[in-house]
Amino acid sequence: MKASGWRMALAGVLALIGLTLGWGMLAAGHVPTIAAAPPSGTPEVLRPEPQGTPQVSAVTTLQNPSPTCYRPVAGTGSCYIQWAYLNAVASSSQYVISMTVTIDGRLHAYHSGFFQTSMYIPGDLYGPGFRVTCGFPSGAGDGLGNAYSYVVRARDTSGDLATNSGTVICPADVVRLFLPVTRRQ
């Protein structure tokens, strides 16, 4: 009986030590880095971002250089927004799950990862770019028209979410309609 009692006590002590060590390791490994990690496969919730000054997130590398709004044909009122490229690199040993492009609060592109640790989208994958209205000339007389806010987001399998946001300004342009004028005889 005595030996059995000692064994029980020893087992109890070992179990307590194990629980303490396990709890400590769990607590240390569960520090959220940027956002609470959503469970895999759940819908990505798009949250509104502050607009204006460009903001860059540093956890997952996300690049979207040279946001451009251009007007290919004068008098059409149509402008196109384009980037040189978009590039997302996942945190160490993670996969990129998705990358999204939102302009003025509207989602324009959704990219899904497929067993890839980085995601590179060349600008011309979108053809001419995303069509927007150029807008009337602003009162400043600088020849510029509408301003559009954009948000580029990338998410990896660790749950890290990187967000870049900024504003792109278009050249001014309005549709010109030439109606034929005929004199009544």
Partner: protein, 179 residues
Amino acid sequence: MRKPTYRVLAALLVLTVTFGLLPGEARSQQPEGPVTVERETQGENVREITAPSQTLAVQPAISFIDSPSSTCYKPDSTQDTCYINWYYNSVSASPDYMITMTLTINALGIVARTSGFFQTSMYVPYNMLGDGFEVPCGALGSGGNPELGAAYAWTVRARDSAGLSSANYGTTYCPPHGP
């Protein structure tokens, strides 16, 4: 002393029956058709390599297909028109030849078929597919994700001269159309 001996013998008999007969039975029931050599999953994505028989499955030459960044984009926010494309699709089978690679968007059927021409690898970049494949963007939530539009399941399949196949299965979500 005798009882434990009987128990040990009985246990040995049970083990022999379990591990000796069952695998043999399983072997005899194995189908003759294609054998899955490798298979990986990641969320909704699946990639696999299959062989027509067990003998060819030992050391497959064909690789997994690389089809990164499946994309659905909406060039004009006023139109319910989206385009699906990939950054590229690439596969290798060296020293065997690549025979074909087909792209299928399940809702549209086969949308592209590339043939090999005495080549051991095949690379199809996005700009070989024009603007991509036109699909309706779909209403918000129509693809099952409350933040996105329609969902399109797709398959990329490649076959080499040894008869081995590689396939990728994935789903692309589109931006929604509507207010």
